[in-house]
Amino acid sequence: MTLIKTTYNRRSFLKTTTLAGGGMLLGFSWLASCNPTPEEALAMPEEWFDINAFLKIGDNGIVTIMSPNPEFGQNVITSMPMIVAEELDVDWKNVVVEQAPFNSEKYTRQFTGGSQGIRRGWEGLRMAGASARQMLREAAAQAWQVPVEETSTEAGVVHHKASGRSLGYGEIASAAAQVPVPEEVQLKEVKDFRIVGTSRKNVRGREIVTGKPLFGVDYRREGMLFAMIAHPPAFGLKLKSVDDTAARAMPGIKDIFTIKTYKEGYEKGYFDTDAFPELVAVAGESTWQVMNAKKALNIEWEPIADSTETLNVFGNKQTVHIPAGRENTTDHIAEMEKMAAGPGEAPRRDGDPETAFQTAAKVIERTYSAPFLAHNCMEPMNFFAHVTEGKAELAGPTQAPEIMEQTLSARLGLPLEKIEIHLTRMGGGFGRRAYGHHMVEAALISQKVNAPVQLFYSREDDMTFGIYRPTYQITYRAALDADNNLIAFHVKGGGIPEHSVFPDRFPAGAVDNYLAEAWKIDSNITIGAFRAPRSNFTAGAEQSFLDEVAEIAGKDPIEFRLELLERAQNNPVGENNDYDPARYAGVLELVREKSGWGQEQPGVHRGLSAYFCHNTYVAQVLDLAIENGKPVVKRVCCAIDCGIVINPDAATNMAEGAIVDGIGNAFYGAMSFKDGVPEKTNFDTYRLIRMNEAPKQIDVHFVQNEIAPTGMGEPPFPPVFGALANALYKATGKRHYHQPFLGEQRMLG
């Protein structure tokens, strides 16, 4: 057993009250919004006892486990409580899960992003369960007057084997709640896990399939008004004036006014990104009335001036230049070409790359690009707010309540403790909901109309408000000697307004002579984190390039990568290499075995890709056929090393979704601009992948090990762009360097 100190945010284990009074939260609790069938219904206890911030135990042994992190489909609402339940040693069928309220006193890192929820939550969640289990054992030991060491637990029962006595958790919960929080707790051995590592159904499954009100847009409050905003139609424009005479007279309209999202001189934080900080707000009795009134507004816009802004990136100040002007995609492409030809910043250099390239037998150079992308969360941006004198209550979908609480506090002039944020289930996030301008907007609108308000973005508002995945371009060069050994590697990448170069990632460390360079171009089009930021472009480009290099070197693409990884393992170049070569090789070997690599079927074209990001290793083999002139993805075989897999079927679902999402974006995803205007505004023009375009089969395999778990939300997404590009090449003889690979042209020539 592992003995660990319970250092993790000890405040979460401090008990304020022992009797929780059965208090369920909001309308979002399992009990309030679910109608279980009689055989599924758990008899609810008469009393609940708070053991710590993560769990309470009912007098009948039912356990409520709080899932601390915001849920947007990654299913931490099931997997995080599974970890607590494992260490608590309780039967999963007696567990009820609640979304924890946002509370930075009780929980740390209530943030969804970077695939870090499970990785960073792992220890704390285990401790929450293990310390509760310890308290239950101590309470039982006291009741029986036996040493605590003689007690054991099994599925919600404490036993004293020597005397044959046992007590259910519910029977001693009230006593356990009085036991001091242990200084140290014992954690289970991985081999003894009975819940972690087994597939458990989504705890919200039934509520989802029956249409229960789980989402931000479903939030309702007595007297609540509906509100929408009008924002500039183009980047590079701001509000000049508004004539709301016609709109005001329309039925159901309560008020129309302008709001400024940030105070004059406010130093923006990293997630305060906002190209349109002055907006027209319309509040009324129903969505439809507000939508119509919005159309009746007469708004004049004017050009923005060139400006600079100081961004406070978690204490680190950065100056950002925001150019004036209305940008065009065609200009972006030309500017990127120009920058790519000039000098870049060089964050990493190993050996003597210049000489190696000069003396090489072969030099291969290829350039890749990808457009801006909109997140297109299925549930558009929205938030509920009720701001009253001295207090603000918000509810809705956010990935970053901790961060937005600070922004709201600064804007509303309220101390943090006067701001309450309830976490609703999110209809997708993909990074977009880490940004919270709309939360501030909702609060300002509520303040002005002096009523509870739900701010709602139409699809068009959502798609044209910015915070896009940036557009990128990257050039790779490889030098081969006469024996086709890779002797030098050069990556030079940029983008608008950020680049996607990771200087210390593979194949850095595997090549003697290596150079990474980066550049970027300022823009007034705002960008934000998008599922596996930067990796979502770099992986596909790099893996396409390595495929081409392997081909020119006359090597099998898996063998070629394994050779490089062997070099990085046995005799690494440089010190900061950001990957474990053995685990990287592990997923390649697993995908080789599981995909039946080398046993090609006629008419099926295979592409390979492998990538490491967000602490998880992924390799994929994608099988593609051309049917009626169209590329059809027949199968994707995916091998993953994310350490211990908490909930295998849920992790598989994540990987499947990431693969579908990646193929969709690689084939069709693009946002373009004309005179600053986003050219796509809804799903009729912004093409998203649909069922008939998804792979016919996806097989997901996990490396079995006992390494602490890492995340699944992002890592399976980036490599699939490369696997698809490489399979398309096999199928068509043509390399695809620029995304989207198909765009609106649906047939391959």
Binding site: N35, Q74, P251, G428, E656, F683, A694
Partner: protein, 170 residues
Amino acid sequence: MRHAQILKNCSVIFFNSNIMANFTLNINGKKQQVDVDPNTPLLWVLRDHLNLVGTKYGCGIAACGACTIHLQGVAVRSCMLPVSQVGNQAVTTIEGLSENGGHPVQQAWLEHDVPQCGYCQAGQIMNAAAFLKANPSPSDEDIESAMSGNICRCGTYLRIKAAIKSAAAG
């Protein structure tokens, strides 16, 4: 496509949106009265006036299927269906598809643990349920063509397809 047909059968009249009118709707087997602008799409009547929020908005232009409901048992996109066109036709929403999620399609969804974020799933389920009624033993191609109007941004398509096959197999 079916949606288009239904709308064609109705004589579409556009009302001045300043006029409110009273409608008696037949929703999930219950008569419901609303006093709204006749052009209001059924979606917003359900969500804002009747608090039936299971039916979701995704695009408002009949391009995603999130708002799918049944009109006389046929899958229809409620985001572009004016309330004035509903009349006394039977409307079924996700809330009325079954008691407690007992419909075979909902059961299959649970069995395959389909949802990720879940936002699109009410629309997917409503579309699948109407489709299976019309075509109880569909091929993969039938499923794809029937379901390709419904976007799942999370990419749960393979599970949706598997669940529909399970539901069809009974």
